[in-house]
């Protein structure tokens, strides 16, 4: 079970802010990327600190196993991240569990967010957009987003995001990506709906390379959000969905509506096309579930 998060940021003083030195004896400051993590983390004090990562100078902590990297990340300052080789109770949207076996990237990163919550409402989409750009750089075939921000290769899921605004002034970006792992070995039902970076690109991937590029993408998304917000990025974001895909929306009212998803408008409404190609809008908060009718 996830540990109980602290009500306030009382654990933050234990960990260094970006650019500062290391802290107490629980942290091994000289570990190198690739060194095997030695502890199963049940508490932030079990984390091992690696050397700075990526162009933004992220401080990356790692552990062999975590209940949830998002839970551990709540104790970290902005520009710190925690990565686990395995998660035992990884969380998706609305608490749904997902398989987080060894060989995948299971990471949670903390970003500064001093503006009010509503200012960051579309940030998960911005992050998804930048991560898809990363997949495109790596020549993942048919890399795209699925509402709200699953990372897909065609019809199969590569990864997913869960963001949390748990503390004032900070956002936690939880990201899971299948790299060389094979979750379908644990759950055969995943064989038809999930894939991995290695499978799609037919090559091996170094987890450190994937981690570094991912953290760079998160920093880029954060900067883009500060500079122009969602309105400025809406065109680029809409290019990351599949070309209008038939969908069924299950709404919080209990009703359903169908159409072809054409993207978002600058206010964050979902844009759909009906059978006569007329556009209509649906509020994102009304959508309980979106099912692609491929």
């Amino acid at each position: 079970m996830p540990g109980t998060p602290s009500k306030k940021a009382s654990c933050w003083s234990r960990f260094p802010e970006r650019g500062h030195g290391t802290t107490d004896g629980h942290i091994a400051s000289n570990a190198e990327p690739g060194d095997p993590p030695v502890n199963a983390a049940t508490d932030p004090s079990d984390l091992i600190l690696l050397n700075p990562v990526g162009s933004a100078g992220w401080r990356l902590f790692q552990c062999a196993e975590a209940v949830s990297t998002n839970d551990l990340a709540r104790s970290l300052h902005p520009w710190n991240a925690v990565r686990a080789a395995r998660q035992t109770t990884g969380r998706g949207r609305f608490g749904r569990q997902f398989v987080s076996d060894e060989g995948g990237l299971w990471i949670s990163a903390v970003l500064p967010a001093t503006d009010p919550s509503a200012r960051w409402a579309g940030f998960s989409l911005m992050v998804g957009c930048h991560l898809v750009k990363m997949l495109e750089e790596w020549h993942v075939p048919a890399a795209r987003l699925r509402w709200p921000n699953d990372l897909m290769a065609g019809r199969k899921k590569l990864g997913g995001l869960l963001l949390e605004q748990a503390q004032p002034g900070a956002l936690i970006v939880g990201f899971g990506l299948n790299v060389s792992n094979a979750p379908w070995d644990h759950d055969p039902a995943l064989a038809t709906i999930a894939t991995s970076l290695c499978r799609e690109t037919r090559r091996d991937w170094d987890l450190e390379t994937v981690t570094t590029r991912t953290l760079d993408a998160l920093a880029d998304a954060h900067q883009a959000m500060l500079e122009g917000g969602m309105a400025a990025a809406i065109s680029e974001l809409n290019n990351r969905w599949a070309s209008p895909v038939p969908v069924e929306l299950q709404l919080s009212t209990g009703s359903t509506t169908t159409g072809r998803l054409a993207g978002l408008d600058p206010e964050g409404h979902l844009r759909l096309l009906d059978a006569e190609e007329r556009e209509f809008l649906v509020e994102h908060q009304s959508v309980e579930k979106l099912v692609e009718l491929l």
Binding site: F94, G95, A118, A121, L163, L281
Partner: protein
């Protein structure tokens, strides 16, 4: 209730509406049916950023800081809470926002349930 598609200022929305009687109550009222449910609204077109919803700073009214859906209600009616206790979790486009009590007190009323769609500024919990 009836599902309609309405066009306002050139933008088309799907809405679910319920007929009301003269007193504003549902014509087919049940004790728990909301008066109006809608799947879309027609917000005024504006490029200016909306002001942040008032988070409960010193008030017993805990409101949603953004539009989204209720993931969980993390308190119970009658529960004693202190300022900073998490009372509700709101989700918007895969971002969970934790909403905290702004004052010490007792949870007097809970205005939402898990799965409800909420607007920015909508009352979630009342603390007395």
């Amino acid at each position: 209730m009836k599902k309609l598609r309405v066009t306002v200022d050139g933008k088309t929305y799907e809405v679910v509406v319920e007929a009301l009687d003269e007193d504003g109550r549902s014509a087919a009222a049940t004790s728990t049916a909301p008066l109006l449910q809608q799947t879309a609204v027609a917000p005024p077109a504006s490029s200016a950023p909306r002001p942040a919803a008032p988070v409960a700073g010193g008030s017993g009214a805990v409101v949603s800081p953004l539009a989204g859906r209720i993931v969980s209600v993390d308190c119970q009616a009658g529960q004693k809470v202190t300022a900073g206790d998490k009372v509700v979790t709101v989700e918007a486009m895969k971002m969970n926002t934790f909403v905290y009590a702004g004052v010490d007190g007792t949870v007097a009323a809970i205005a939402v349930n898990a799965g409800d769609a909420v607007e920015e500024g909508q009352l979630l919990v009342t603390i007395s």
